[in-house]
Structures are given as C-alpha cells and as structure tokens.
C-alpha cells in the first residue's frame, strides 16, 4: 500500500483545501454541505473521501472543479490546485483549470459521454481543443489512449457509440478521455459504484496502475471503506459536512482515532467474520448544525462536554488526525472495536 508515497512524504501538494465552507442557499434555511473542511493531497497520492449519503463528499469534490449546483455557494475557505486559487475563478479561468490541471470521472459513464458521437470522435474533440490537427497523429493518440486503459481492439472500438459498450468499457473510455491531457489531479466521484464487483475490481486496478505510472493524484469520493482500502494511500472521513478523521489508510482502518470511523467499520459485514448480529450506529445524522460534536448524539463514548464544545481536527499520532476530544483515551477501545474476530 502506498509505497510510492510513504517513502516520499515531502512530495509537493497538488490540492490544498483550507477551511472550506459550502452552503445550499435558497431554502428557508441555508443547508450546510461542508463545514471547515481542510485537507491536502500530495503529488502521486490517491486520497479517499468517504462518508454516507448527505455527508457532503460529492459537493466538496465538485467545488474543486467549479461544478457546484447553482444554489450551492462556497461561503469561505480556499481551494488551491497546483498553487492556483480556484474559488472565485470565472468561466475562462475554470476552463484553463480543467484543461491544464484537473479532470473528472463521474459515477455514470453513460451520462458523461455524448450519446450521438462515436467514442473516437469524442476523444478527438479533446485533442482538437489542445490544438492537435493532424488526423493520423490524432488517430494514433486515440488508439494509444484506449489501449492504455485496457480497451481491446481499440482501432475497432473507437467507431462504436457509447450505448454499444458495456458499463465497464464506458468507464474505461471516460478514464481515457480524462487522461488524454495528462492531468495532475483526477477527481473521481464514485467511479465504480454503478459497476459489477468484478468490473469494479478491474477499474480500481486500472486507476491504481495509471496513478503509479504517471505520478498523477486522485481524489476518490466513495461510500465504501472497502474501495478505500483497495487503492487509497490516505483517507478523510466525513460526517455531516465535517472531516472527523484523516490519515494514512492502514492506520485509519486498523487503529481509528474517531468513534464514527470505528462504528462505521464495525457495522460492515465482512466475509469470513460471521457474527450473530451486526453492530449498528443508532439514530441518524443531524440535519441541522449542532453546537458540539456532530456525532455526539449517536456516539457510545460521548461525555456531556461533547454536546456543547466542538472538537477540531488535531493530530492523533503519526499521519493521523481526529476531531474527537477523547482520541487519546479511546485509542485502545476503538482499535478493539474494529479488530477482526
């Protein structure tokens, strides 16, 4: 896991998110989607952003490339991609950003591709936008791009329309399109959620290999801690719009420092660990902002002060940070909670 990054913690950052606040406006109350979110992705790193429905993970990802819903506004905070500030960019600035630095992969590749263009024509469009005009060169590059993402018979397949391809092949084409400009950062929003598990496995392997070969970084948004364990180097756990834990994947999954991470891990059924009952998290996430820790009402370890004073993300050991007052006291019991058997 993460060999390329672990030995080189000094790799420069490609993405810095600092104190990000996003609200959905227009309703009777402003709904909070992200609160004081800060994290950094270094070059060559695969960073997983996990959370349940409504935790704000997709909103945060979309804010990085200027694709927020009309009603959603970045209220405060900074987002820097390769050193350039993204918040407040106009359309021309966003186009530059998307052309030079960042590409995106969506959950549903059928909707991300144009249904009335062959996939070859769609990939050619990207090359034309880059100023490449020579037909033969474009053709060669397209075949190369498709072969690199594991599309067999690339010269034949480039004449196909998206509906003629399977879901897995479509996602490979979408990845090829994203990779053409050699972006420094790929934003992937649940890229394998719509796929069957054997195909998900293939696509995750492909993303991992591309990342290691080219040195690009990936921000992977997912609800599945299993997917995070498969390919991510570092992870951020979101709860009700706040990062409650960040850190090295191996540490967070085996020795979580926030009760929510531990509870999430313990509530996942796993092959080979049959118990008579699954652990569950009682209640559900708060819909409005609460004064203290957002997880306190559902937390098995909450004290009175947890409901009134909000903890902030602070270091909890090497390359791990937790927004929990009791992170040091709970170390052992959280590790026991997620330990196997």
């Amino acid at each position: 896991m993460g060999k390329a990054v672990q030995n080189d913690t000094l790799a420069p950052p490609i993405l810095q998110v600092d104190g990000l606040n996003i609200e959905y406006q227009g309703g009777p109350h402003a709904a909070v989607a992200a609160r004081d979110v800060s994290f950094t992705i270094r070059r060559g790193e695969i960073f997983g952003l996990v959370g349940e429905t409504g935790s704000g993970k997709s909103t945060i990802l979309r804010s990085i490339i200027g694709l927020l819903h009309q009603k959603a506004k970045v209220v405060s905070g900074a987002i820097r991609v390769a050193g350039h500030e993204v918040t407040g960019l106009d359309q021309a600035g966003l186009s530059d950003l998307r052309r030079e630095h960042v590409a995106m992969i969506f959950q549903d590749p059928l909707r991300a591709l144009n249904p009335v263009m062959t996939i070859g024509a769609q990939l050619a469009e990207v090359m034309h936008a880059a100023g490449l005009r020579d037909r033969d060169a474009v053709q060669r590059l397209i075949v190369g791009a498709l072969e690199r993402v594991g599309v067999a018979d690339a010269a034949l397949r480039m004449r196909a329309y998206p509906h003629e391809l399977s879901g897995g092949l479509r996602q490979r084409v979408a990845i090829a399109a994203a990779m053409i400009r050699s972006p420094e950062l790929i934003l992937a929003d649940e890229p394998t959620t719509a796929l069957d598990v054997t195909i998900q496995d293939q696509i995750l392997t492909l993303l991992y290999d591309l990342c290691r070969d080219t040195g690009m970084s990936v921000l992977l948004v997912t609800h599945d801690l299993g997917v995070v364990a498969e390919i991510c180097d570092r992870v951020g756990v979101l709860y009700a719009g706040r990062l409650v834990e960040t850190g090295d994947v191996a540490r967070v999954l085996t020795a979580p420092s926030h009760p929510y991470t531990a509870a999430l891990l313990a509530s996942m059924p796993r092959i080979g660990e049959r118990q008579s009952r699954l652990r569950v998290i009682p209640g559900r996430p708060p819909e409005l902002s609460v004064p203290g820790c957002p997880f306190a009402p559902r937390c098995a370890y909450a004290l009175a002060e947890c409901g009134t004073i909000r903890p902030v993300l602070e270091p909890a050991g090497a390359d791990q940070a937790s927004a929990c007052w009791r992170r040091d006291q709970l170390r052992t019991c959280l590790a026991e909670e997620v330990s196997v058997g």
Partner: protein, 344 residues
C-alpha cells in the same frame, strides 16, 4: 423446523424476447434462467448471489409468482404453483417479497399505517376491530414507533421505509420472504439495522428467507446456504464457506476475491477476474464462464458442465473445479456453525 423443503424448483427455465422488433426477423432470445434446480428447507436462509444479468431477480420473481416460468416446476409445500393461472390464496399469502427500492414499493399518497392496514383487512387476517392493534403490533415488530402510522412515505428515511415494507410483507403471516436487494440502496449503518431485523424475524417467527443480493459480505453474514449464479445458471451451491476458501468454481472464487474489504494491504497486481460479461443473448457454448475462466480447457467449450454434487451439501458445475484443501473446508464449516440460530 428444518423438516423437508418448503420450496422446490425443478428445471425452471425462462426466456425473454429482447431488442428491436423488425418485420421478418425474430427478436433476440435472452435466456434469463436455464434449468434451475433448487431446494429451500423450511426455517433456513438461502442467499442467491451473482452480478447484473445473471437472472437472480427473475428467479426471485418466479418464486413469488410475479413471473411465470416457460418450463419446470415451482413447488411450495409440495404443490406445484408454476402452472396455476391464479395461485391459491394460501400460497400467494405464504410467499411475500420485499423489493430493493423502499420508496417505489409504497403508495406515496397513503399513510404508512393505512398501507399496513390494507392487507390485514383485504385478507381478513384479523377481525376489523382488532386491525388497528395488529397494525401497531407490526410496526413495533419492525422497530417503528406506532406514532409514525399517520406519516406519509416521503416523511420517513430510507431505512424506515424499508421497515414499513417488511411490516406489510409480514402482515399476511407469510412462511417465506424473498428479499431482492432489500438492503442494497441503504447506507452502511442503516443496512446493518435492516439485516439485523431480518435475522431477528427469522429467529423469532421461524421464517424462511431467500436473500437475493450482489453483496457477498451481506449474504455470508446472513445465510445458511448460498447459490451462485452466472448467466442464467446456478454454477455452485453450498454452505457460505464457498464464498471463502471453500469455493470449487473458479467464478465463485474470483467473485469473492473481487469484493473490496476494509482491510489494508490486500492489493493484488491483477484483477481477480479479467474480461467482460458475455452477451446474455448469445452466451458462450458449453460452460458460460469459460471465456473468463483461468482454468479453461477445450472440453469447456464443448459440453456444459452439470450441477453435480461435489461433497455432501455442496454442488458445483465445473469440469475442472478448484482444489479445496480439507483443512480449509473444515475450518470454514466450523465458522459456519458459529452462527447461533435458535431454530437449529
């Protein structure tokens, strides 16, 4: 409980016509189910797993009578239901289904209390005067407060809605419930609550459960037996240990290894199964899995392997099955037996 099969399927096949209607050319034939033989013992939980297009949902619909098979028999408590134009009421009520999307399974303009009352009154399960009490009892059984009875479906969360659907299924006192991806659209923490509810109901009411899912983690957790499907056929059937080291079919083994687990350091250099699912309208000859199988031989293209017993309680359809070490099997069977089930 545990006395004889409550449900027995023999040679069940089903085809659909798909694709554009063109004059003078027959439409493509999609073989959704190909000679399915399956027995479900009363009080046990069967998991049916497979990827999209394997026929698992068609099988679920045939079991509860929403789809009629082209061939074969579906026997519920010994009586063949597959030929009946209308199922006898006892069978129709005895077999209930819970669907994947809890919202579209409920009438959006009906209060959830009324949605549960309706089957109670229509089928005269209890005298009219006792129906509201029975409704509150059912809400309580599925872990909902009776004070929610006046709410509409849109006022509930996804997990609460699924509990309402389970209460509706339970209202007619079924003996067998088929759950088609019933927890798949829910968040992990809520999914756990619904899975626990299913295992409580099985243990308390002695229900037989058929759990259709693409999620092997869920099936391994909940089920006594597992059937693995690929392109319309059952390719392996046995104890849940077949989802671990006990797999004899190469597809079962690959599918199980492809499931992401929240355990760091499992990264493999190669995907567990390469290639794409072949077209279901034109599946490969012989063994359907041979195009993606690491152990394929010329024979696999010529003859379709029958689903034969490989061990007691274990059937597999493969000419060249994996070798499973006796120690691994023993260890896994011990793990299977750990699940406490008061009914056994």
């Amino acid at each position: 409980m545990g006395s004889g099969p409550i449900l027995q399927l023999s040679g069940v096949s089903k085809s659909f016509r798909v694709g554009p209607r063109t004059i003078g050319r027959p439409r493509a034939q999609l073989r959704a189910l190909d000679h399915i033989d399956l027995r479900v013992e009363a009080g046990k939980t069967l998991g049916i797993v497979g990827e999209s297009g394997c026929g698992k949902s068609t099988l679920a619909r045939i079991i509860v009578g929403l789809t009629r098979p082209d061939a074969g028999t579906v026997a519920y408590e010994g009586a063949d239901l597959s030929r009946a134009r209308r199922r006898p009421l006892a069978a129709a009520l005895g077999l209930q289904m819970v669907f994947q999307d809890p919202y579209s399974a409920l009438n959006p303009r009906m209060r959830i209390g009324d949605a549960i009352l309706e089957p109670l009154l229509v089928h005269q399960i209890v005298p009219r005067a006792e129906a509201p009490g029975e409704r509150d009892r059912l809400l309580d059984v599925v872990g909902l407060s009776p004070s929610l009875a006046s709410r509409y479906p849109h006022e509930l969360s996804g997990g609460q809605r699924q509990r309402v659907n389970i209460a509706r299924a339970l209202s007619v006192r079924p003996r067998l419930i088929v759950a088609d991806e019933a927890a798949s659209s829910l968040d992990v923490s809520v999914q756990g609550q619904i899975l626990n509810l299913f295992s409580d109901l099985r243990d308390q009411l002695g229900l037989t459960l058929i759990f259709v899912s693409h999620d092997l983690n869920v099936v391994d957790h909940l089920c006594d037996r597992v059937a693995v499907m690929y392109l319309g056929r059952i390719i392996e059937e046995g104890r849940p240990s077949i989802l671990r080291e006990g797999a004899l079919h190469h597809y079962t083994h690959g599918l199980a290894s492809a499931i992401p687990q929240p355990i760091p350091g499992r990264r493999r250099a190669q995907p567990a199964i390469s290639g794409e699912l072949p077209s279901p309208t034109n599946p490969p000859s012989g063994c359907h899995f041979r195009t993606r199988c690491p152990a394929r031989q010329p024979l696999c293209a010529e003859a379709s392997p029958p689903l034969n017993p490989a061990a007691p309680d274990h059937r597999v359809a493969c000419h060249f099955p994996r070798v499973s070490t006796p120690e691994a099997v023993g260890r896994n069977h011990a793990a299977d037996d750990l699940t406490v089930s008061p009914s056994s």
